[in-house]
């Protein structure tokens, strides 16, 4: 009992700390239930995936080496989520199956935040022909189905982690480009920028000190939603066979594998990896919801 209470309070304290950081210490914002649930889910998944990667046989069965179960057997007391066609334990594969999703999602969103923001700053600041061409290109990419673009790109880059990071990251660049460019255009004309300029500040300083901080809130909310979306995109890419090479455990790939045994009614091969994808994506989505409520109080529902 005691141990549990302490562990819970540690998680609670960690969440409070994160939310304080996000909300710049505005205390009334710390009671964000949605945000806390989302953060808990994501932290839990990151810890679980890390542990499962370090100690593969976390639940007593190795995800790739153990092959002594019954073939295609539904959930039992010894194999909670059943076994697959190679007599492996599904649960052990579930535990570590989010590795690719997490790595790719975080790296891809970081990549697109960086590239998108820098391009947005440059475009908004310079204006002229460069701005027009960049904006038009970004609009063209943005209006094109992101899932199809990611598939085309990853197919061209080749399968694996790095190609997926580039493909998924590329798709989100226009989002951040738009957010930062809009902010630059708005801030550029304000009095205080004129004042800063009069003092003699250069463009770089204006961008980093005065424009970038203004975009942080919007970027944080958007990137949480993008992370949720990236988890789904990575799962879809793995499902289509562009992810980690087998036999590495991976939710998307395991679902593709389970599809072959769908006709024989092996529902457990598909159901459990899918539930994991939903939970993780939902976690990021809830964080996005929470942050949007934080940074944009007008969004908070009104009683009608």
């Amino acid at each position: 009992m005691d141990g549990r209470a302490i562990r819970r309070s540690m998680l609670a304290r960690l969440l409070d700390w994160i939310i304080r950081k996000i909300s710049h210490g505005r205390s009334e914002l710390r009671r964000q239930t949605i945000l806390k649930i989302g953060l808990s889910i994501v932290i839990l998944f990151v810890v679980m995936t890390f542990l499962a990667t370090q100690f593969p046989a976390l639940n007593g069965y190795h995800p790739t080496l153990y092959r002594d179960g019954a073939r295609l057997e539904g959930p039992t007391s010894s194999h909670w989520m059943g076994t697959d066609q190679l007599q492996r334990d599904v649960f052990s594969r579930i535990l570590g199956g989010g590795k690719a999703s997490l790595i790719v999602a975080f790296s891809a969103v970081a990549l697109s935040v960086f590239l998108g923001s820098v391009l947005g700053w440059i475009s908004g600041f310079t204006g002229g022909v460069l701005d027009r061409v960049l904006s038009l290109t970004m609009d063209a990419i943005y209006s094109f189905p992101s899932m199809i673009l990611a598939i085309v790109l990853v197919a061209m880059f080749g399968a694996g982690l790095m190609p997926m990071i580039w493909a998924v990251g590329f798709v989100y660049i226009p989002t951040y480009f738009r957010v930062t460019r809009a902010e630059v255009l708005q801030v550029r004309e304000t009095m205080y920028i004129e004042a800063v300029r009069a003092i003699g500040a250069g463009n770089t300083r204006i961008i980093l000190r005065h424009i970038a901080p203004n975009t942080v809130n919007a970027i944080m909310a958007v990137s949480s939603f993008n992370l949720a979306d990236a988890i789904l995109t990575v799962a879809a890419l793995s499902f289509l066979g562009f992810g980690l090479p087998p036999p590495a455990p991976d939710w998307g790939f395991d679902i593709q594998n389970g599809q072959k045994y769908l006709q024989s009614g092996a529902w457990w091969l598909i159901t459990f990896p899918g539930v994991m994808i939903i939970m993780l994506s939902l976690g990021f989505g809830l964080i996005g919801e929470g942050i949007s409520d934080l940074v944009n109080p007008k969004r908070k529902r009104k009683r009608v």
């Binding site: 038009l136 290109t137 609009d139 063209a140 990419i141 209006s143 094109f144 189905p145 992101s146 899932m147 199809i148 598939i151 085309v152 790109l153 197919a155 061209m156 880059f157 080749g158 949720a228 789904l232 799962a235 879809a236 499902f239 289509l240 998307g252 679902i255 389970g258 599809q259 769908l262 006709q263 009614g265 529902w267 598909i270 159901t271 990896p273 899918g274 994808i277 939903i278 994506s281 939902l282 989505g285 809830l286 919801e289 529902r301 009104k302 009683r303 009608v304």
Partner: protein
């Protein structure tokens, strides 16, 4: 109406550089990245360098990239997207053959998402902060977080395999697949034209699961927009006036509020079509649906450059046209908008 006409022309002119840019990006990516279409086409291993080289020359892949680009562009302008490396048939012909299947699926998905999304969104808005509102919001967020291919597979497991209510995949089942004669490519329409009611029923049954899969995946976006815009409208003064006049709540919501609440919902329509096409890739893969999206996936696997480029341009053009139509509809629904 002259204003609208001019606007349409302006937009169409703007579409051209956008599609052109996308085409250029895809063309360059395909050429710059590793992966040889010719060896993929011939099956890879054990082919002598001379044979590879002769094919490369024949297909024009030996020319410098700018030359290839120029010749490809001049073809596209004339509506020629080249021949598929896999089948040898003109890409444009294959695309048109598969296009109706995708559209039929997309319309189905859109209908499901509109009905589910708008109805739940409005219900949530009129019951804001009640249990129903919370439940619906969770449903909307969950629909965002749901991998579409997984949902499709789950439907297949339960409704097709376990219960046997609906077919697992395809557009037509059993003997009909061989006997049914398609005129337009839109099977629903074809069956109605030919008054073939057994075929119509079968086609409809085949559409249910893919349509639901695609639709539910989009419900979140639609529903959240509806809820937010309805909440905003319900706050307006004229709604208070309507209520003060003693109108029934139902009349106020459906008669007065909905029309204005629909405006932002329609705006996201264009955006939704992009998501819809993306979702179609996965839906078509899961349900072996013979549309453009599954064609593209197969073209990618075979490194069939002309087919990939053709599909991308085709989809981009299609989405631009949809966006244009949405914008024009926008001005009809909202008289304040003038172009």
């Amino acid at each position: 109406m002259g204003g609208v006409g001019r606007y349409v022309i302006q937009r169409l002119l703007l579409t051209i550089p956008m599609v052109f840019l996308l085409l250029t990006v895809v063309f360059l990516i395909l050429r710059v990245l590793p992966g040889d279409p010719v060896s993929a086409m011939l099956g890879g291993r054990n082919i002598s360098v001379e044979v590879l080289e002769s094919y490369r020359v024949r297909l024009g892949f030996d020319r410098p990239i700018p030359v290839q680009y120029a010749s490809y562009l001049s073809g596209v302008v004339r509506g020629d997207f080249g021949d598929s490396l896999r089948t040898g048939k003109p890409v444009i012909q294959e695309l048109f053959l598969r296009f109706p299947a995708t559209i039929e699926l997309a319309i189905c998905g859109l209908l499901v998402s509109i009905v589910l999304g708008v109805v739940t969104g409005i219900h949530a808005a009129t019951h804001a902060d009640h249990a129903a509102d919370h439940g619906i919001r969770v449903f909307h967020i969950a629909s965002f977080a749901m991998p579409l291919f997984w949902l499709g597979l789950m439907f297949q497991v339960f409704f097709a395999v376990r219960l046997g209510w609906l077919p697992v995949a395809g557009r037509l089942g059993g003997r009909l697949a061989f006997t049914f004669r398609s005129i337009t490519g839109f099977y629903m329409l074809d069956a109605i034209i030919q008054a073939d009611w057994t075929a119509l029923a079968d086609i409809a049954r085949h559409l249910v699961l893919p349509g639901l899969t695609l639709g539910i995946a989009l419900t979140g976006l639609q529903g959240r927009m509806s809820r937010a815009s309805m909440l905003e409208v319900l706050d307006a003064d004229y709604i208070t006036t309507a209520r003060a006049k003693g109108l029934r709540e139902r009349t106020v919501v459906l008669g007065h509020a909905l029309r204005n609440a629909l405006i932002p919902i329609i705006t996201v329509f264009g955006l939704q079509f992009a998501v819809l096409m993306g979702g179609a890739v996965l839906t078509e893969t899961v349900f072996s649906w013979p549309g453009i999206a599954s064609y593209l996936v197969r073209a990618i696997a075979a490194r069939d450059y002309p087919s990939i480029q053709g599909s991308v341009v085709f989809i981009a053009l299609f989405i631009s046209v949809i966006n244009l139509i949405v914008d024009v509809c926008y001005s009809i629904i909202d008289p304040r908008v003038r172009y």
